[in-house]
Symmetry: C2
Subunit: 332 residues, 2 copies
């Protein structure tokens, strides 16, 4: 039979010289459940039934992180990649159409990197509901993502690609939209406080870092910057889905880059809520003298980016713009 | 303030020279939900409420994999690491007490590696229940893991470490047992068929490979070996939690190593069910002339291993035994 190899990487790329790859969990706390009924299940296919007793102790609210330590990093602090809502750290790896993602690009640019899964997502694990987490999770449909990620107008997704309605000049690799759907994980609307604490635990572990954060993760990054300003050297907010509920006067003057894609006018949620909320916060910070830079791609003539610039066809070019901004900070 | 650095890796270790690190999803299929009620939620902390419509299309049953391609692998096929029930690929990374795990050790031994999360676990994502998956998931308690992983007798866990009952000579790093609990993820008893298909998709993508699989994953590996024998060069079954329900006469003569820890006599589930079931299958294969090797650690004088030899204090030594067996296969 014919088998295909591991996806072809760029065979001409410079090798990555790593001291180590580590994977670990930080944050979270122990909790206990009592007085729940005991059941029986066959946990291995075809295997014997065993007792399943849900009463006992669980770890809740931890975060998973994977660190890549270069032998010769060009920068003294690591670069942390924080995913958005309904996604995991995998969103920074291969793009849905199989190109190397931003994680690869920032490692090759000379950063020690840390890619994480927020509490309740991916390798961080999620807790029983409603016994530990009170509310039910949301599983994102391809329909919802199509509008939310501004691939096309709300309602523009169709299972038959020929009937999909896509924004003109769309740079998301639409032919791989179903592959993006394989990355989706459940998320809880109530999880913000857990995530905020766990990201603080991560930064306490890594030490001062650059944080590159997407969508909901970019809101969390701004919240954690309020809690631990001394541990964030720079913030790169990729399409932040709003702003903290806190007072922007409490924010520290951390160098901040915000990256915006295209087609906001055709997305009521982004046009009327998330983006203006984010901009009010950032404008207040700029008015207070903070170094806030806006990379508004369409305003600079780069049209067609979706909510997922790290996956769009020009993902390398956008990463290079972010990297150029970081280099100008002279973080050493 | 004082901050601790990223966990100290072995600063004297030879650097890892990698061509690429890739992350991707394979397998799974699209499904649709209809006629469910629409709700409203504030998906970003403090942010505006938005509509959450669960009706639409989802990808279900995919598997997440992360591949590490060496510049100069010593072997012509990759080594795949498959986790056990209630865990993810993270179980092969750092040990709970912070030492490098088997993934690091096998990379440094010269293997291209692929670390995966089975469907419904970790970065693979899980589907809505009961609408898509019929049954409820199991979240493992620390109490259940204590007995199941043979750290001590069933009922031997206590939240106060001073009151825990541990098997004598235990090699699991008991002081880090709570850290192990941070790795636990929900699992579904019904998920075996999904996982079997997804692992087949992974092997079809990677091509012929060595599979190192733990516990429930080792049962799945034996099932996938029935489906795609030409794609498995060797099987390393670490504490297999039983055997396929199929007929062992249908198995191919794939070189197989089975690794057993200690303290089976004090675990009724392992002593009376999982281990004898695994041994009957392997004995039938050996009787048919298959190259099946047993590494029974206590029988060789290595006492005290738990169900998690990749995390036990002698994890490096056990990995070295596995590597020595693989080298004798002369896989090239």
């Amino acid at each position: 039979m014919t088998v295909s190899a591991i996806p072809a990487s760029d065979r001409n790329a410079t090798p990555l010289l790593l001291r180590a790859v580590r994977g670990f969990h930080v944050g979270g706390e122990i909790t206990e459940l009592r007085d729940l009924p005991v059941s029986s299940l066959a946990a291995v296919p075809g295997g014997p039934a065993r007792t399943s007793d849900p009463n006992g102790h669980y770890l809740v609210g931890q975060l998973y992180a994977q660190s890549f330590e270069l032998v010769a990093p060009r920068f003294t602090c690591p670069l942390l990649l924080w995913h958005g809502g309904g996604l995991t750290g995998a969103c920074w790896e291969d793009t849905p159409d199989g190109r190397p993602g931003w994680h690869d690009r920032f490692m090759r640019a000379g950063w020690d990197t840390v890619v994480s899964d927020a509490p309740e997502r991916g390798r961080a694990g999620w807790a029983r509901y409603p016994e530990i987490v009170p509310d039910v999770p949301e599983h994102r449909t391809l329909e919802a993502a199509w509008g939310m990620f501004r691939v096309g107008p709300p309602g523009g997704f169709h299972a038959d690609p020929a009937q999909q309605e896509t924004f003109p000049g769309q740079l998301f690799p639409v032919e791989a939209f179903e592959q993006l759907g394989r990355q989706f994980v459940a998320r809880w609307a109530s999880g913000g406080a857990l995530a905020r604490r766990a990201y603080a635990a991560l930064l306490t572990r890594t030490g001062p870092a650059v944080v590159v954060a997407h969508s909901q993760g970019a809101v969390l990054a701004q919240q954690v910057a309020l809690d631990l300003p001394e541990l964030i050297q720079a913030l790169v907010l990729v399409e932040p889905a709003g702003a903290p509920g806190d007072n922007p006067a409490e924010a520290a003057p951390i160098p901040t880059l915000v990256v915006w894609g295209d087609h906001f006018a055709d997305s009521p949620l982004w046009r009327d809520s998330y983006r203006p909320e984010a901009e009010r916060w950032l404008e207040a910070r700029r008015a207070a003298g903070h170094p806030v830079t806006v990379l508004d791609l369409p305003a600079e003539g780069v049209r067609g980016n979706s909510h997922m610039p790290m996956m769009d066809r020009n993902s390398d070019a956008v990463a290079a713009r972010v990297q150029a901004w970081l280099e100008r900070l002279d973080l050493g």
